[in-house]
């Protein structure tokens, strides 16, 4: 036992000599190996020894703080011995260098991806705007409008003895805001006159109020002014009839009659028109339900009255506002039967006022606006006249035409622009404003535009770039593993190699790009 223990101790010493001192003779080393094969305890000791030594090698080592040197030299009082800034290569060593090595390719790849593959192509307003189109006429994407411009331009130059086969035109359509001046004529406000008539007549007969008349006139549209004045005349006519019935003197009848006849004209103007007054019938009693004249005289009177009514025929709504008995009677007289049927008075009225009706039909919105404006103005100011100036902003089509031809031909084309404008006017919307710009043909831009039509603005992912991305990914993974397994030297080597390969791949890709394009 003691011999065994002694031998065991001897081999322990040999183990220490071998793995600590590294001073052991070959013969002792062979004897130790033989013993280790047979002795599990010694093998365990050897394992412990090796593990301990490895653990000692991997023991963390402290580093003095950054302020250590500064404090030390302040304590020592050594002037100028303060530590200078570390050298540049030391600033980017260790983890910083690894971080930088990882960040630079990532930034580079991001830049390439964003610029080349993932970026949305910059919108070309000249192309994308649906309202504006510009295509080289020589290219296949020329619009019919541009073809027409080119054809007319070349024809014009040919006629002027300056044929230019390469002349072309580019069209860009858009709109421009224009201020339009409108003068509105506002009819007089009838409120005071109605009141006067109403006062003189009394309230025995219902008459449409001013508001109702205005509203009716507005709804009727084209004939509203006419209707309004015809209705406006009625109280005066009735008043005259009443007067005549009470005091049947011929002079009085002569004075009041013209107002009845010229109901379609302005009241004041017609009152002063003596010529029409003379021609007016002397007596035109308005038929009422209470009256019972003899049949022949009644028919004659009704015929004359009908003539007047045909001239002063109000609109349908105004007609409806009159007393129903009177309206039915008049309708029956005009058509020969009672109720229904066409209304010749209205047709005749429209024939009498064709200009007003056409104007109102063309611009109903303007007419409505004018009526509203006139009503407001009359209401607020109480004036009868009315000329109002309105300004509107409208959008008008505009054509910007770039005429491309040789610089020597610019002066030849300049005097013929008006003629070209006339020729081109039929191709563009009515009221289009033309703006010509004479310029030299832009060969480079033409080529670019023609080239743009073929390739897509986004580049395809090329194989070298893909390989490089895969390589970068693999190397980064390896770097992480290498750093974890504490082999920074290998990590730095692989990082540098990856950078070099990536640069080469990108260089190859960049050199091949023009060929691919």
């Amino acid at each position: 036992m003691s011999t065994g223990t002694h031998n065991h101790q001897r081999y322990i010493n040999l183990l220490l000599k071998k793995y600590v001192d590294h001073q052991i003779s070959p013969s002792r080393d062979a004897a130790l190996q033989r013993h280790l094969e047979d002795c599990p305890d010694c093998r365990l000791q050897r394992t412990r020894l090796l593990a301990g030594q490895r653990a000692l090698d991997n023991m963390p080592r402290l580093k003095p703080s950054r302020s250590f040197e500064k404090e030390l030299f302040l304590k020592l009082g050594i002037p100028g011995a303060a530590a200078p800034a570390p050298p540049r290569h030391a600033r980017f060593s260790g983890p910083r260098l690894r971080l930088l090595a990882a960040a630079v390719p990532l930034l580079f790849v991001s830049f390439i991806l964003v610029r080349g593959h993932l970026a949305i192509p910059e919108p070309d307003r000249f192309h994308d705007d649906s309202a504006t189109r510009s295509v080289q006429p020589t290219a296949s994407r020329a619009t019919p409008l541009e073809k027409a411009v080119t054809t007319n331009l070349r024809a014009l130059l040919r006629e002027k003895g300056r044929p230019a086969s390469r002349a072309s035109g580019r069209v860009r359509m858009d709109t421009e805001r224009t201020r339009v001046r409108r003068v509105l004529r506002i009819p007089a406000a009838p409120r005071k006159e109605h009141k006067k008539a109403e006062t003189s007549r009394g309230k025995s007969r219902p008459t449409p109020s001013v508001d109702r008349v205005s509203k009716t006139a507005r709804k009727d549209g084209p004939a509203r002014g006419l209707t309004f004045r015809a209705e406006k005349r009625q109280p005066a006519t009735r008043k005259a009839e009443d007067e005549r019935r009470r005091h049947p003197s011929p002079a009085a009848t002569r004075k009041k009659a013209p107002a009845t006849k010229s109901g379609t004209r302005d009241l004041k103007k017609q009152d002063g028109d003596k010529r029409r007054t003379k021609r007016a019938p002397t007596s035109r009693p308005r038929p009422t339900a209470n009256q019972a004249p003899d049949e022949g005289h009644r028919r004659e009177k009704q015929k004359k009255q009908n003539d007047v009514l045909l001239r002063t025929r109000p609109s349908k709504k105004m007609e409806e506002q009159k007393p129903s008995s009177q309206r039915n009677k008049r309708l029956a007289d005009s058509t020969g039967k009672r109720g229904g049927g066409p209304r010749p008075g209205f047709a005749q009225q429209q024939q009498q006022q064709p200009a007003t009706a056409k104007k109102s039909q063309e611009r109903p919105d303007m007419a409505r606006r004018r009526t509203s404006a006139s009503r407001k103005k009359a209401k607020h100011k109480g004036e009868s006249a009315r000329r109002v100036v309105r300004y509107y902003t409208v959008r008008r089509p505009r054509a910007r035409i770039k005429l491309q031809l040789a610089p020597s031909e610019h002066s030849n084309l300049q005097p013929h622009l008006a003629e070209l404008r006339k020729r081109l006017a039929r191709y563009f919307p009515a009221g289009t404003r033309f703006r010509f710009q004479i310029m030299a043909p832009q060969e480079q831009k033409q080529n670019l535009r023609e080239g743009d039509a073929q390739p897509s603005p986004t580049r395809p992912l090329s194989l070298p770039l893909l390989l490089w991305l895969l390589l970068e990914l693999g190397v980064r993974v390896y770097l992480l593993l290498a750093i974890r397994s504490r082999r920074p030297a290998n990590a730095a080597l692989w990082s540098a190699g990856a950078l070099l390969l990536g640069t080469l791949c990108l260089l190859l890709w960049a050199l091949r790009r023009p060929e691919a394009a």
Binding site: R48, A55, L62, L76, G80, A81, R486
Partner: protein, 195 residues
């Protein structure tokens, strides 16, 4: 500047009046002396203060230094003596438990401790940390003479001759102290081994 000069040449220039060259010496020895102090004292927080005291003492005693002798053992000898003084001062306060707790301070573990050698395995990592803690504990419990030889040999990678010069003992004494220290640290113990 001065990076290619030997320690002795730098000391000579300092002795001649070029005190700025002392910065080179500080940069060369600050890390290794700090770890040496840390191993000897077992206290990380006091290690930097001790290191500052070491450099102050070296600078003040450079005049007495014989430039014909190697500088490194001399610096370590100064450091060892200072650590002795420090440990003597705090001997009453520094118990083994405190030293161990200082060693178990998680702040002492660096990131490299947490990174396994080949593969991340929590069980293996825990085992390795346990083994390392036990190893440090054994180093701490070594007799001081064995400890300084052990630290100089295993951590500072001194040769026997340098250790002998540093400690002013014969080489045979160094070998025997190292042998005993290794035996106590590596072999004579119970417990598992890291995989």
């Amino acid at each position: 500047m001065g990076l290619q000069l030997s320690d002795e040449a730098i000391v000579r220039r300092i002795q001649e009046g070029d005190t700025a060259m002392f910065r080179v010496l500080v940069q060369r020895y600050s890390t290794c002396l700090l770890n040496y102090i840390h191993r000897l004292s077992g206290n990380k927080t006091d290690a930097e203060d001790l290191l500052q005291d070491v450099f102050v003492r070296v600078f003040n005693h450079l005049g007495t230094y014989d430039s014909k002798r190697p500088f490194r053992p001399w610096v370590y000898k100064v450091t060892t003596n200072l650590c002795y003084d420090f440990l003597k001062k705090r001997k009453s306060d520094l118990s083994l438990d405190q030293a161990l707790s200082a060693g178990d301070d998680p702040g002492d573990a660096s990131l490299m401790d947490l990174i396994p050698d080949e593969q991340y395995d929590p069980e293996k990592l825990a085992m390795r940390r346990e083994f390392r803690a036990a190893l440090e504990e054994r180093i701490e419990t070594l007799p001081h003479k064995q400890k300084e030889v052990f630290v100089l040999f295993h951590f500072e990678h001194f040769a026997y001759k340098e250790i002998a010069d540093t400690l002013a003992v014969p080489i045979g004494t160094v070998k025997s102290r190292l042998h005993n220290a290794c035996k106590r640290v590596f072999l004579d113990w119970e417990g598992g081994l890291p995989a």
